[in-house]
């Protein structure tokens, strides 16, 4: 294929041959890094035995997957969505409804929820992708709010009370584990690893180059034959699919969904924040961001936020503000100095 051939032309025309070999090396190095991180996290439950910490670990891995999914649309394609809570909620509700009412296993629920969210993303994209910048972001917020309002009033999915999962025996099939939460760590890890791998693949795929071209300069991309609208739609659908799969996993993990616990505006921001913190449009940024942000959020909520006194919110807000102002290109750049120039 001409994929590797086009890469240097897009990023760095001079010194093409040298760039190509370092690029190939960098790709292999990333895979190696991924394998090492995967191995380390697989071993982590051996040392982390505390139930609370394991819970934090599950959430961190889940958000790594969600942030990585958001990054596909927001980071690579440059479309800042603030409505991904819609897809998260759709995944959570689809899996819950299928399992509770029809006994369909969660694994299928993840796929079905993902497919439904991807379809929905195409609808949202069709309506919104003509919009630019803030107009687009605000429109995505609105779509999520419409979804939230509908959920609150839709009796078929339990309206405001939501859906409670029945208690059952521990099983990998239904993904229900009442006592030992360790299996959730591995499922969340698997999800994060899959989205990471997809992102790794995207970086050197035709779509990846199209998306970055759309992000950097849509008019130039269009003139070079990149179909901007279709590129955005594809990024949006892929991003929504994995976000919804994460939502389905979350529903199984907490065994309960209600509108505000899965489709609140908060989730849209929580998915985007690790990306901004770690480095937008980078492979490791979302993982790094989630690894720092989610434990910090959980700890500040557990130890400082007791009784809703707002201290956790203050710390969180100050943190987000400082990150945005101090290191806007993301923390991953701290490590990236040595890496091949892009």
């Amino acid at each position: 294929m001409d994929q590797t051939g086009t890469m240097p032309a897009v990023s760095n025309a001079p010194a093409a041959t040298a760039a190509r070999s370092t690029f190939a090396q960098q790709r292999r190095r990333q895979l190696l890094q991924g394998a090492i991180v995967l191995l380390l996290i697989t071993l982590l439950p051996l040392f982390v035995t505390n139930a609370y910490l394991r819970n934090v670990l599950v959430l961190t891995l889940l958000y790594a997957a969600l942030a990585q999914s958001w990054n596909i649309l927001g980071g690579y394609c440059g479309q800042v969505s603030l409505g991904h809570a819609l897809y998260f909620g759709v995944g959570a509700y689809a899996a819950s409804k299928l399992f509770v009412d029809h006994g369909v296993v969660v694994w299928f629920g993840m796929l079905a929820g993902g497919a439904l969210a991807a379809l929905l993303a195409l609808v949202v994209g069709y309506a919104c992708f003509r919009l630019k910048g803030h107009y687009f972001s605000i429109a995505t917020i609105l779509f999520a709010e419409i979804g939230l309002t509908l959920l609150h009033n839709w009796d078929y999915v339990g309206a405001a009370t939501g859906i409670q999962w029945p208690f059952g025996a521990d099983s990998w099939w239904t993904l229900q584990f009442a006592r030992d939460k360790t299996p959730y760590i591995y499922v969340a890890l698997g999800l994060a690893a899959i989205v990471w791998l997809v992102t790794w693949w995207i970086e050197d795929s035709r779509w990846g180059y199209w998306w970055r071209a759309v992000k950097d300069n849509p008019d130039a991309a269009q003139s070079l034959g990149v179909t901007v609208f279709r590129s955005k739609m594809a990024a949006s659908a892929l991003s929504a699919f994995f976000t919804a799969a994460g939502g389905a996993f979350y529903a199984a993990f907490v065994s309960y969904v209600d509108p505000d616990s899965v489709m609140n505006f908060r989730f849209s921001l929580l998915m985007a924040l690790p990306v901004v913190l770690g480095g937008i449009g980078t492979l490791w940024g979302p993982v790094l961001g989630a690894a720092l942000l989610i434990p910090l959020t959980e700890f500040s909520r557990s130890y400082l936020g007791g009784g809703g006194n707002g201290v956790d919110l203050m710390i969180y807000g100050a943190l987000v503000m400082s990150v945005a102002l101090i290191k806007p290109e993301g923390l991953v750049r701290l490590f990236a100095k040595r890496m091949a120039a892009r």
Binding site: I138, I141, N153, I280, L313, M321
Partner: protein, 292 residues
């Protein structure tokens, strides 16, 4: 429903819509000036409502009297937010949009946490204010006097804003800066100063909105969030940056919301507004009065 009932719906919607316009105009002004969406706008409104509540509780000043004080204080908050946070967010060339969103969102969360810490999450309301409990009867249509007052203040504020923007040097500097930041620097206008004053003005306007809303609305740390969402819709509907688009869109939003509430269960009242917004988005992406 008969004609009289619809007239009532229309009147209530109009009154609330004028307030929505006032809540949104500061957001639109700031966006028009410098392409920044302030995600702390709702929190500014919340602060203003607490300021009015505090002045009423501790200094026994009725919100009607306290309005200029609240607006002046909010001017300070806005100018400070620009100088302390937003100015720094604008320095960066890389992903500026995201930096702005998260800098102002971080500020919003910080303010919300501080409000929860200082004022507790309890719902408050101003009890025993001058306007409380009075209702005007205009040809069979009943209008709570607090809301009539709020609508009047909104109209006056927009009138004042119009004069400010067309008749003063500051207004002209504001208009010039929003059109071409580079060119105004050449004629000796300090765009940083204009931005600071613009943020002050935007926050002062939402301060006025907060002071009037405090006369008839519950006050709690999350009160800003619901109004902020309506403000974003209003601004997008009117066209980002269009000051009087915000007024027109606010009125439309108010009336559509009141109409939806009359036809559908009250819980769905926001739906009509959202759907209207989507329709406008589809037919006219730049909003009613905006330039894309």
């Amino acid at each position: 429903m008969n004609a009289a009932a619809w007239l009532q719906v229309l009147a209530s919607g109009l009154l609330m819509g004028l307030v929505y316009g006032l809540v949104a105009v500061g957001l639109s002004l700031i966006f028009g000036l410098m392409d920044v969406v302030n995600f702390a706008h709702g929190e500014f409104l919340m602060l203003a409502m607490y300021a009015a509540f505090g002045l009423f509780s501790f200094a026994h000043l009725d919100p009607v009297i306290a309005l200029p004080l609240v607006a002046a204080a909010m001017f300070g908050v806005g100018a400070f937010a620009y100088a302390g946070v937003v100015r720094h967010a604008l320095r960066f060339k890389a992903n500026t949009g995201m930096v702005q969103i998260f800098a102002t969102f971080g500020l919003a969360t910080l303010i919300q946490g501080a409000a929860q810490y200082l004022f507790s999450p309890d719902y408050r309301s101003i009890k025993g204010g001058w306007l409380e409990g009075h209702t005007l009867n205009v040809g069979g249509v009943f209008l709570p006097s607090a809301q009539v007052y709020a609508a009047l203040v909104s109209v006056l504020a927009f009138g004042g804003l119009y004069l400010l923007m067309t008749r003063t040097d500051f207004g002209r500097a504001l208009e010039a800066t929003r059109e071409d930041k580079g060119a105004v620097a050449l004629v000796g206008i300090d765009s940083n100063r204009v931005f600071t004053l613009g943020w002050g003005l935007g926050a002062a306007l939402v301060g006025v909105a907060g002071a009037v809303l405090a006369t008839f609305y519950y006050i709690h740390p999350q009160v800003g969030a619901s109004f902020a969402l309506i403000a974003y819709v209003t601004v997008a509907l009117g066209g980002f940056g269009s000051v009087f688009g915000a007024l027109a869109a606010g009125v439309i939003v108010g009336i559509v919301e009141a109409g939806t509430a009359a036809l559908l269960p009250p819980a769905l009242k926001a739906l009509g507004v959202y759907l209207l917004y989507l329709a406008v988005l589809f037919l006219r992406p730049q909003g009613l009065f905006g330039k894309l």
